[in-house]
């Protein structure tokens, strides 16, 4: 299981309580597979984190883990080991920008 922290607006959309959710990951633990797992568990989030068709990250969404910015890493990048073994969460973050 991968621990995931979603931004508040996406938690509201997905109707989850608390700051953190967990998603199962039975394939190679990569950026793409954790996003697949999030969207599979919460279909309402399809299109809100990455584009429906191209699967590109939305411009104002960032991915962090272990104090590292993974936003620009290729989709097949393996998640850091502390995320894979559940010691650290994977963070989906709304970019800090006005509004």
């Amino acid at each position: 299981m991968i621990r995931v922290i979603l931004p508040a607006h996406l938690r509201t959309l997905a109707r989850v309580n608390g700051d953190e959710v967990t998603v199962p990951l039975e394939t190679e633990p990569t950026l793409a597979s954790v996003l697949d797992a999030i969207e599979s568990q919460y279909p309402v989030l399809r299109g809100t984190i990455r584009d429906h068709v191209t699967l590109k990250r939305r411009p104002f969404v960032r991915f962090y883990a272990c104090e590292q910015d993974l936003s620009h890493d290729p989709p097949d990048t393996r998640l850091p080991e502390p995320v894979v073994n559940g010691r650290e969460p994977f963070l989906v973050v709304g970019a800090m920008a006005g509004g």
Partner: protein, 371 residues
């Protein structure tokens, strides 16, 4: 007693305002979807309890919400708006080609007789349709297939399809408007479209009376006379008596012929309303006086409606989807401002009062007349 439900979309959420037929005491619910831009909400004419809302955000994109109980509870619908085929390019602000990219839904227009059928006008401009209550959306590609798409250019708000009018006597006929491309009409259920901009003249495009390129802000019709259309263009208030085949200017004595909203009285097809706005780029009422103008002659001769509206130091705007008219008698007129006020008149515009004063900037106002 019958009543009304006013659906208000704002920059930071949706609000639902309800009142009985007197329209004196209002209940306010919201914000719904707080923090999200709600470009438009609209109820189904076939089932007033069925509402649709366009919810969007610069961070998280487009969401469509649906309610089956008049806005008490909501559920998410489908949000995949994929253009049909290879989207191609339109013009960018400087005239260079720019790829078509979906950004948001500006306007949702439910079918007149089927609550599960809805048309969506989107940015970058295209028309989508759902037949399953919003679960799936499909582009109606005939519009962008008109052939003039590479010449469409965005207005200041983007290349948006913001107006969808369905002819109540012949639902294969629809009118849409795009800023800045112009108005279009289909007579075959959206398979093919004609540009209907003859008579429009626009500064800012190389050929002022070109077939397309006009910044149409809004068009309106009375359901009893679907061949008569009224238009608020970037500048000029226009009228067509032949379903858009030709237009003539009816700005008459307006203090500014720039504005965004235009709408038609519920029971008097020749009575129309606009809110003049000062431009270039100021986009607030002339002289700081918020005035609705009413013409009882289908244009040309206009009277200022000021009773209850601020007549000094008022510098708000009224955006294109932010006026609506109920079907009671006398009919009610409603509009929202970028200052967060929603004003209502229960006597056809003679007197006004604020229903709410301090909402986030109002983007859209729709009213439902309830049995």
């Amino acid at each position: 007693m019958s009543g009304v439900r006013v659906l208000v979309g704002t920059r930071k959420g949706a609000f639902v305002l309800t009142a009985d037929g007197k329209r004196e005491q209002w209940q306010v619910s919201g914000p719904h979807f707080g923090g999200w831009e709600i470009y438009h909400l609209k109820g189904s004419p076939a089932d007033p309890s069925r509402l649709y809302a366009s919810q969007s955000s610069g961070w998280f994109g487009q969401i469509v919400q649906r309610s089956n109980d008049g806005g008490k509870t909501w559920e998410t619908a489908g949000n995949k708006f994929a253009y049909d085929g290879v989207p191609g390019t339109h013009q960018w602000y400087d005239g260079t080609p720019h790829p078509w990219e979906f950004k948001r839904v500006w306007h949702l227009e439910p079918s007149l007789d089927d609550p599960d059928v809805v048309y969506a006008g989107v940015e970058d401009a295209a028309l989508f349709r759902t037949g399953d209550g919003g679960q799936t959306w499909h582009e109606l590609p005939g519009l962008r297939g008109h052939g003039s798409g590479p010449n469409w250019a965005p207005g200041a708000g983007g290349l948006c399809l913001h107006t969808i009018l369905i002819d109540p006597g012949n639902q294969d006929r629809m009118f849409i408007a795009i800023s800045a491309a112009g108005a279009f009409r289909t007579d075959d259920g959206a398979k093919t479209w004609s540009a209907i901009n003859r008579g429009l003249k626009s500064e800012g495009i190389p050929d002022p009376d070109a077939e397309v390129g006009h910044c149409v802000h809004r068009i309106a019709m009375h359901r009893s006379r679907p061949d008569v259309l009224f238009m608020q263009k970037h500048w000029d208030v226009m009228r067509s008596d032949n379903a858009g085949e030709s237009w003539r200017e009816v700005s008459g004595n307006l203090p500014s012929d720039f504005g965004f909203v235009i709408d038609v009285h519920a029971h008097e097809p020749e009575t129309i309303y606009v809110v003049p706005i000062k431009s270039d780029s100021e986009h607030y009422p002339p002289d700081g006086r918020l005035r609705v103008y009413r013409s009882r002659s289908g244009g040309e001769e206009w009277e200022a409606l000021t009773n209850g509206l601020p007549q000094s130091h008022c510098y708000v705007n009224v955006l294109r989807d932010a006026m609506s008219i109920d079907a009671l008698d006398p009919c009610g007129v409603y509009f929202g401002t970028t200052g967060g006020q929603v004003y209502g008149s229960a006597d056809g515009g003679n007197t006004w009062s604020p229903i709410v004063r301090d909402l986030p900037p109002v983007v859209s106002v729709e009213v439902q007349t309830l049995p």
